[in-house]
Structures are given as C-alpha cells and as structure tokens.
Symmetry: C2
Subunit: 351 residues, 2 copies
C-alpha cells in the first residue's frame, strides 16, 4: 500500500468510563479520538457503517462472570456492526467488501492478522438482505431468534407461541418464523403502533399491548388470544410478564429465556419468577439460549431466513438513528424505555 | 362370602375440614368413623397397614388447578399407602395379598369394581423390598427420584449432582442412584445427623448442612464440595437454596424441579428464583417432573432399584411413626419442620 488514504483521519470512539448503577448515564461514557492506523501484514481496516444496539449491551457493562467477559473500563464499548473494508493486507478481504463483525462503538475498526478469525469478521452478501437487515434478521438478533425458537422452543404446527418484545429485533424473527412453521402466534409489545404493526405487517394472530388495559392487560390478553394455552413462550423481558405467562402454559411447555430487559437496569435484585412452580405442575421447561453456541450453523439459518425475506413471507423493521458514534449513549437509552420501534441501529457513516 | 368378618368393625378416617393458611393446623382436619362395607361384585377391601406422608400432600390441600385436583372439603385426605386384602370379589386379588395404592388416610379402603384399575391398586412383592420400602425406594418417592433423575436430569458419569432434601425420601434415591451412575454426589440436608448418615451410609461424596455455618452455609459448601461446578441440581426445597445453587451451575446444567417444600406453607407469594438468569448465561434448563407421567415404566424402575437394594448398593431409611390415623395431623407437620429423618411413614395397623 503505497498511499494510506486515512493517515490524516481521526477514529472517534466511545469507551466505557464507569460501570452503571441502573440506567447508564453520561458518566458511563468517555469519548476518545485516535489516529487511524494502516493495517500490518494480514490485517484489515473496516470503516463502520452501522452499529447494532442491543439489550445485551447492558449486561456487558456489568462486572462479573457471564457468557462473555464484561467490557473493561477504558475499553471501546463492544458492539456488533456492519462496515466496508477500506484497507486490507489480508487475502480474504478486498477494499470495498461489505462485512459484518464486532467493530465496537468506533468509526474505524482495525483487525490485526491474528484476530481476523476470532473477531467474527465476515463478508456479507447484500443480495440476501440490506445492510440493516444484516444487523437484524440476518444478524445476531435473527440468529438468536432462529436458534432459540428452533432448537430450544421446538415449535410444532398447531401450537401456540407467545413472544414478548414482539416488535423488537429478536421478537420479529421469532414470531414470523413460528408463523411460517405453523404456530398460532401472539405477541406482547408496548403501545398500539407496535401491536398493530406486528399483526398487520408481520401476520401475528394477535398482539397484546402490555401498556393498555391496566395491571391485568397481559393476563386478559392471554386469556382472550390463547384459548388453548401457551406451548412456547419466548421471553425477552422477564419480570411480571414472565410471571403472568407462566400461569397460562400448557403441559410440556417450553419457556425460552432469551433476555430480561425489564430487569437489566434494576438497582434491586432481579425479580425471580414467583410462578416458576408452574414448571412442575405442567412438566414444563425453562431454558436459556446464547446465540454464540450456534455459530457453526449461522449460514444455514441465514440461508433460510434470507429465503423468507425474498419470497415475502418475512418482513423486517429497523429503527435507524443517525448521528454517528456521538449519539450512541442517547440512542442506547431508547432500548430501555421501549422508544425504539424495530431493531435499533445507529448509523455511523454512509457507504 | 358367607361371613363378613368386619361387619362390626369401624373404619376411622381423617378428612379435610378446611383449607389451610400456612401450616395446616387442627382446624383443617375432621375425624370420622363409618362402618366397613362388604365389597360388591368385583370389589376389593384393603386394610391399611402404613401410609406415605409426603410434602406433595400440602399442595393437594390447596384450592385451584394443579397436576391433580385438590382434595375436596369433607373428603378423606388423599394418601398413598400399603395394605393387605381382607376381602375380595375381584379375580385379581385374594385375601392376604399385600398391595399398594391410594387408600387415603383411613383404616379400611374399599375399592369398587369400576375403580380398581384407575385406583392404582396393585399387588406388591415383599421379596423385592419391605413394606415400608414399598412406600419409599420402590414407591412414589423412588419413582419420582428415578424418573426425575434419569429422564430429566440425564446424569452422565463424572458429572456433579447436588440434591436438596438429601435425607428425605426422594433425595435418598436420587443421590444413591446418581452415585451408581458415576456422578459426584453432594447432598444438602438439615442437621449433622442427616448429613453424616447421607455420607456414611448412603455413600454421598459430601453433604452440606444448611442449618450450620450461617447464611452462607450452602454457598460455602458448594464452593468446597463442587469444585467443578454443578451439572445437575435436583431441587426438593426451592427458596434460598435454589437461588444459591443457581450461582454455581455449569454450562448446560439441568435443574430438576421436583418440589419446593420451603415454600408450601407460605402465606406470602412463592419466592421466585431471582438468579434464574443463570439459566441464560449457562444455557441451562429448569424442568418440572410429575411422577404419574411415568406410570407405564414404574415396573422397570422398581426392578432396577430392587436390584440395588438386594446387592447392597442402595440403602433406605424410613421414619415410621406409630399411632394410627389419629396421629396423621401431627405426623404430617414433621415434614415441614424437617423433624423427620428418612421417608416419613405412618403405621396404621400391623399385618
């Protein structure tokens, strides 16, 4: 590489400055800037185009053992994203390739030779889905929904599936995929706009607005829309909604524990499901899913889901926020207030 | 039947008089007496010898939907038991046969022709185990432990199993069977006598006394005795112990929900496991077991377990209380205070 065209460019980054108590506030973040470095032999330089903002990020900010190590204080905040290769000394990547991976919250992602493999850096095919769909149905949320539903939920035609966070990234995929597999699908979401979209656009059989109808909204909605009980509950929220669904499950029901967004910003202990003995009464199962376990089968899921996008059986909605990495802290907060409508994406640059 | 020798005999019964709030007190029970009736064509009359007293009884006293209907007010309290046939007009049963079934808390159990099959009345072979072992390892607790461990827990040699209520009826079978299957076995029980017995007599690798060592007894004990984490947790108690074990589980762990005796007499809501998100982090599973689902395989389990009793690999302990049905209320209470040591049995009559 004779001329490195980014020699004068700054890479803007958002780093974790402090661990949050409750909702992450401004004190959690530090904004830094550093020169963009030319890749060494075997390395790749990616310009970030868009970042995936996910509830799981809140967990990564906590200290302590989890399914992956926490983000360290001072480290660039971890984030999945899509980008374009702007410099490469790796035979597998050429300038102009569109890629997905884990750039973190920064404008340029430099992947050293020995990190290319374990970084998850991979070329993506925009004929299978748009850039933002690669962060949604064809990305981590889609993979989570696919394997959580298919491997843990094990849907059978004619069964009833309930999914919370129905209009969110994982919920969209889960509900539509369950519908395609022949299930009756009932969503739970916040507000009439999300509920209406889930039913009209995504073809759910019904959607319960947990914010409407008072304290018994979910209970009443389940009674009305799941007359044959609940065979699969795909849980993204935890808390009271999980507890309520537990009162309506069928024998041999499967509860997929994918997340618990209602509990992530607690400053008090997590609310355990007080109705968990419904598992005993109903010989039911509650099981956790972590998407990384299925990495060797992502390609299979992407192929199937891309087929549904192409033939129109599956739709997707991304809530794309502009503003670059500086807008990251405020944008992340939208997830926890439920302000996002669809998969939350932060646009960092244009291709 | 020319002479019915029980024409002058009274059948003493304990009936449910009121649904308990918290621990069942004297007001819950009504003592009745009625004549012993001669069996009609196809019927069987059983003299109760011993009754099985089980934590599940507390659940049967509550109103509301569960895995079986509640005992109705005024009904003879439901109980499993063993007895001897004292009169029979059924071709499958002869006077003198030793039988097991669900006599309820009464001295004589009259089984009508159309109820013989669904009552579960069955002859038992005292060469396979003693009368009280037929209420323990070879009875419902043993079946619960066997299928809960083998079908839900799915033990593999080299794994670590933890079982609470280790000295209780289900716990004995679970721990010994897991040991036989090659697991490291750690019990949790209350008091040094039970813990010592479980290790010395039953061959558990260790037993944690949850009553000793303060609030962190279980946490500390698990750290010490499960250096490789917990692969299977067989839970009979719920509450804080379940929560603590959840912090020590391994990837793909199985939590068998068999009971929650710490919660059965709550007058406040059940304590949900606030650490349930450990299921997510560890891709682990929590699943309920109800023994009745395995009725068509009881014979297989009995044969295997009787073999272990015979060759000495399995031992059993029953806590036999004398005093007849009148002693039922006080004896039942021992379960909830943990006073019983071994499978709690109420002796009703001598053979």
């Amino acid at each position: 590489m004779a001329d490195f065209p980014f020699a004068e460019t700054s890479n803007h980054q958002v780093r974790l400055a402090a661990r949050p108590q409750g909702l992450p506030g401004p004190a959690c973040w530090q904004f830094t800037e550093s020169p963009v470095a030319e890749p060494a032999e075997g390395g790749v330089l990616v310009k970030t185009l868009a970042l995936s903002l996910d509830p799981a990020m809140r967990g990564w900010m906590n200290e302590g053992k989890s399914y992956i190590p926490p983000v360290a204080i001072g480290e660039v905040m971890r984030a999945g994203g899509v980008g374009v290769v702007v410099a490469s000394r790796h035979p597998g990547f050429a300038v102009g390739d569109t890629v997905a991976g884990g750039p973190g919250v920064q404008e340029y992602w430099s992947v050293a030779a020995d990190q290319v493999k374990r970084s998850g850096l991979a070329k993506i095919d925009l004929r299978l889905g748009s850039l933002t769909q690669w962060l949604n149905v064809l990305g981590m949320p889609g993979m989570t929904g696919y394997f959580g539903l298919m491997d843990v939920g094990q849907p059978k035609a004619g069964e009833t599936l309930v999914v919370s966070g129905a209009a969110g990234a994982v919920g969209q995929t889960v509900g539509q995929l369950a519908r395609i597999k022949g299930c009756r699908v009932v969503g739970i979401a916040g507000g009439p706009a999300k509920c209406e979209w889930v039913v009209r656009e995504l073809g759910f059989d019904a959607c319960i607005d947990y914010k409407a109808g008072g304290a018994t909204a979910v209970k009443d909605g389940l009674k009305q829309h799941c007359p044959d009980g609940v065979d699969i509950y795909f849980d993204n929220v935890g808390g009271d909604i999980l507890d309520t669904v537990l009162t309506r499950i069928n024998k041999k029901a499967r509860i997929v524990i994918c997340g618990a967004i209602s509990q992530y910003n607690n400053t008090t202990p997590v609310q355990g499901p007080k109705n968990y003995l419904s598992l005993l009464v109903n010989r039911a199962r509650m099981e956790g899913i972590v998407v990384f376990d299925y990495a060797d089968r992502y390609a299979v899921a992407v192929a199937e889901l891309a087929g549904y996008l192409k033939d129109g059986r599956m739709k997707s909605k991304e809530d794309v926020v502009e503003g670059g990495v500086a807008a990251f802290p405020a944008t992340l907060s939208k997830l926890f207030t439920g302000e996002n409508f669809g998969k939350l994406v932060l646009q960092v640059a244009s291709a």
